[in-house]
Protein backbone atom coordinates (compact mmCIF):
# COMPACT_ATOMS: atom_id res chain seq x y z
CA UNK A 1 0.00 0.00 0.00
CA UNK A 2 1.29 3.44 -0.92
CA UNK A 3 2.04 5.64 2.09
CA UNK A 4 3.79 8.79 3.31
CA UNK A 5 5.74 7.11 6.08
CA UNK A 6 9.17 7.88 4.62
CA UNK A 7 8.27 11.58 4.19
CA UNK A 8 6.81 11.88 7.69
CA UNK A 9 9.86 10.17 9.14
CA UNK A 10 12.22 12.41 7.20
CA UNK A 11 10.36 15.53 8.41
CA UNK A 12 11.21 14.49 11.95
CA UNK A 13 14.77 13.46 11.05
CA UNK A 14 14.10 9.97 12.35
CA UNK A 15 16.00 6.97 11.03
CA UNK A 16 14.14 3.76 10.28
CA UNK A 17 15.62 2.41 13.49
CA UNK A 18 14.27 5.39 15.47
CA UNK A 19 10.78 4.86 14.09
CA UNK A 20 11.02 1.10 14.67
CA UNK A 21 11.95 1.73 18.31
CA UNK A 22 9.00 4.09 18.80
CA UNK A 23 6.60 1.58 17.22
CA UNK A 24 8.23 -1.39 19.01
CA UNK A 25 8.76 -3.25 15.75
CA UNK A 26 11.89 -4.25 13.84
CA UNK A 27 13.68 -1.95 11.40
CA UNK A 28 12.90 -4.39 8.60
CA UNK A 29 9.18 -3.98 9.39
CA UNK A 30 9.44 -0.21 8.96
CA UNK A 31 11.36 -0.69 5.73
CA UNK A 32 8.79 -3.19 4.40
CA UNK A 33 5.90 -0.82 5.20
CA UNK A 34 7.68 2.21 3.72
CA UNK A 35 8.44 0.42 0.48
CA UNK A 36 4.88 -0.90 0.23
CA UNK A 37 5.97 -4.53 0.48
CA UNK A 38 3.88 -5.06 3.60
CA UNK A 39 0.54 -3.61 4.64
CA UNK A 40 0.38 -3.18 8.42
CA UNK A 41 -2.50 -4.56 10.45
CA UNK A 42 -5.15 -2.10 11.63
CA UNK A 43 -3.74 -1.96 15.20
CA UNK A 44 -0.24 -1.16 13.86
CA UNK A 45 -1.65 1.37 11.39
CA UNK A 46 -3.41 3.08 14.32
CA UNK A 47 -0.15 3.07 16.33
CA UNK A 48 1.61 4.74 13.39
CA UNK A 49 -1.19 7.30 13.01
CA UNK A 50 -1.16 8.09 16.73
CA UNK A 51 2.63 8.47 16.72
CA UNK A 52 2.46 11.06 13.93
CA UNK A 53 -0.76 12.53 15.34
CA UNK A 54 -2.48 12.19 11.98
CA UNK A 55 -5.55 10.32 10.69
CA UNK A 56 -4.70 6.97 9.08
CA UNK A 57 -5.87 8.17 5.66
CA UNK A 58 -3.32 11.02 5.79
CA UNK A 59 -0.55 8.42 6.02
CA UNK A 60 -1.82 5.49 3.97
CA UNK A 61 -3.34 5.92 0.51
CA UNK A 62 -6.53 3.93 0.10
CA UNK A 63 -6.02 1.48 -2.80
CA UNK A 64 -9.61 2.05 -4.02
CA UNK A 65 -9.22 5.86 -4.02
CA UNK A 66 -5.88 5.52 -5.73
CA UNK A 67 -7.40 3.40 -8.53
CA UNK A 68 -10.42 5.72 -8.91
CA UNK A 69 -8.04 8.68 -9.28
CA UNK A 70 -6.19 6.78 -11.98
CA UNK A 71 -9.48 6.37 -13.87
Amino acid sequence: MENRLRVLRAERAWSQQDLAGRLEVSRQSVNAIETGKYDPSLPLAFRIAELFDLPIEDIFVSPSRRSSKAI
Partner: protein, 134 residues
Amino acid sequence: MSPAMKRYNWRVIWLSLLYAVFLLAAIFGFKHQLFGGFVAYIAAVLPALPIIGILGAMGRYLVEEQDEYVRMLTVRQSLWASGFALSIATIWGFLESFDLVEHVDSYSVAIVWFMGLAVGSIMNKLTLGAPVKC
Protein backbone atom coordinates in the same frame (compact mmCIF):
# COMPACT_ATOMS: atom_id res chain seq x y z
CA MET B 1 16.82 -10.26 17.69
CA SER B 2 13.39 -10.18 19.32
CA PRO B 3 12.87 -11.69 22.82
CA ALA B 4 10.57 -14.29 21.24
CA MET B 5 13.32 -15.33 18.80
CA LYS B 6 15.83 -15.60 21.68
CA ARG B 7 13.42 -17.88 23.57
CA TYR B 8 12.87 -19.93 20.40
CA ASN B 9 16.63 -20.34 19.89
CA TRP B 10 17.12 -21.50 23.50
CA ARG B 11 14.26 -23.99 23.20
CA VAL B 12 15.71 -25.37 19.96
CA ILE B 13 19.20 -25.69 21.50
CA TRP B 14 17.86 -27.59 24.55
CA LEU B 15 15.60 -29.80 22.45
CA SER B 16 18.48 -30.58 20.06
CA LEU B 17 20.65 -31.64 23.00
CA LEU B 18 17.80 -33.78 24.33
CA TYR B 19 17.39 -35.31 20.86
CA ALA B 20 21.08 -36.25 20.76
CA VAL B 21 20.87 -37.83 24.23
CA PHE B 22 17.69 -39.82 23.43
CA LEU B 23 19.02 -40.93 20.04
CA LEU B 24 22.39 -42.07 21.37
CA ALA B 25 20.67 -43.87 24.27
CA ALA B 26 18.26 -45.62 21.89
CA ILE B 27 21.05 -46.66 19.50
CA PHE B 28 23.13 -47.96 22.42
CA GLY B 29 20.18 -49.76 24.00
CA PHE B 30 19.01 -51.46 20.81
CA LYS B 31 22.57 -52.37 19.81
CA HIS B 32 23.11 -54.12 23.15
CA GLN B 33 19.56 -55.55 23.23
CA LEU B 34 18.71 -53.77 26.48
CA PHE B 35 15.10 -53.09 25.51
CA GLY B 36 12.23 -55.48 25.01
CA GLY B 37 8.45 -55.38 24.75
CA PHE B 38 6.75 -52.11 25.63
CA VAL B 39 10.04 -50.45 26.76
CA ALA B 40 11.44 -50.92 23.25
CA TYR B 41 8.53 -48.90 21.85
CA ILE B 42 9.13 -46.14 24.39
CA ALA B 43 12.89 -46.07 23.64
CA ALA B 44 12.23 -45.93 19.88
CA VAL B 45 9.74 -43.09 20.19
CA LEU B 46 11.78 -40.95 22.62
CA PRO B 47 14.09 -39.40 19.94
CA ALA B 48 10.97 -38.30 18.03
CA LEU B 49 9.67 -36.25 20.94
CA PRO B 50 12.32 -33.47 20.86
CA ILE B 51 11.77 -33.16 17.08
CA ILE B 52 8.05 -32.71 17.72
CA GLY B 53 9.07 -30.27 20.44
CA ILE B 54 11.02 -28.19 17.91
CA LEU B 55 7.93 -28.04 15.69
CA GLY B 56 6.00 -26.96 18.79
CA ALA B 57 8.69 -24.35 19.56
CA MET B 58 8.11 -22.90 16.10
CA GLY B 59 4.38 -22.67 16.86
CA ARG B 60 5.12 -21.09 20.25
CA TYR B 61 7.41 -18.57 18.55
CA LEU B 62 4.62 -17.58 16.16
CA VAL B 63 2.35 -16.95 19.15
CA GLU B 64 4.97 -14.99 21.10
CA GLU B 65 6.49 -12.89 18.29
CA GLN B 66 5.19 -9.34 18.68
CA ASP B 67 6.53 -8.02 15.37
CA GLU B 68 3.74 -8.81 12.91
CA TYR B 69 5.93 -8.45 9.79
CA VAL B 70 8.59 -10.83 11.14
CA ARG B 71 5.78 -13.20 12.19
CA MET B 72 4.34 -13.08 8.66
CA LEU B 73 7.78 -13.89 7.21
CA THR B 74 8.07 -16.91 9.52
CA VAL B 75 4.56 -18.12 8.58
CA ARG B 76 5.48 -17.86 4.88
CA GLN B 77 8.75 -19.67 5.57
CA SER B 78 6.88 -22.49 7.38
CA LEU B 79 4.33 -22.81 4.58
CA TRP B 80 7.12 -23.12 2.03
CA ALA B 81 8.80 -25.71 4.25
CA SER B 82 5.54 -27.69 4.55
CA GLY B 83 4.90 -27.57 0.80
CA PHE B 84 8.51 -28.53 0.08
CA ALA B 85 8.54 -31.46 2.51
CA LEU B 86 5.14 -32.81 1.43
CA SER B 87 6.09 -32.52 -2.25
CA ILE B 88 9.38 -34.34 -1.76
CA ALA B 89 7.66 -37.02 0.37
CA THR B 90 4.92 -37.51 -2.25
CA ILE B 91 7.38 -37.76 -5.15
CA TRP B 92 9.65 -40.09 -3.19
CA GLY B 93 6.68 -42.23 -2.17
CA PHE B 94 5.66 -42.85 -5.77
CA LEU B 95 9.24 -43.50 -6.87
CA GLU B 96 9.59 -45.95 -3.97
CA SER B 97 6.29 -47.72 -4.73
CA PHE B 98 7.49 -48.41 -8.29
CA ASP B 99 10.83 -49.69 -6.91
CA LEU B 100 12.80 -46.91 -8.57
CA VAL B 101 14.48 -45.63 -5.39
CA GLU B 102 15.56 -47.05 -2.04
CA HIS B 103 13.28 -46.97 1.01
CA VAL B 104 13.73 -43.90 3.19
CA ASP B 105 12.52 -43.81 6.82
CA SER B 106 9.50 -41.57 7.21
CA TYR B 107 11.12 -39.46 9.96
CA SER B 108 13.22 -37.99 7.13
CA VAL B 109 10.20 -35.82 6.27
CA ALA B 110 10.95 -33.75 9.37
CA ILE B 111 14.54 -33.25 8.19
CA VAL B 112 13.30 -32.22 4.74
CA TRP B 113 10.87 -29.80 6.43
CA PHE B 114 13.77 -28.14 8.26
CA MET B 115 15.60 -27.93 4.92
CA GLY B 116 12.42 -26.40 3.51
CA LEU B 117 12.77 -23.53 5.99
CA ALA B 118 15.85 -22.52 4.02
CA VAL B 119 13.79 -22.65 0.82
CA GLY B 120 11.15 -20.46 2.51
CA SER B 121 13.78 -17.98 3.61
CA ILE B 122 15.18 -17.74 0.08
CA MET B 123 11.65 -17.20 -1.28
CA ASN B 124 11.11 -14.41 1.28
CA LYS B 125 14.35 -12.87 0.08
CA LEU B 126 13.39 -13.16 -3.59
CA THR B 127 9.79 -11.95 -3.24
CA LEU B 128 10.02 -9.45 -0.36
CA GLY B 129 13.72 -8.69 -0.09
CA ALA B 130 13.71 -9.98 3.49
CA PRO B 131 17.06 -11.04 4.99
CA VAL B 132 17.81 -14.76 4.61
CA LYS B 133 17.13 -16.52 7.95
CA CYS B 134 17.04 -20.24 8.72
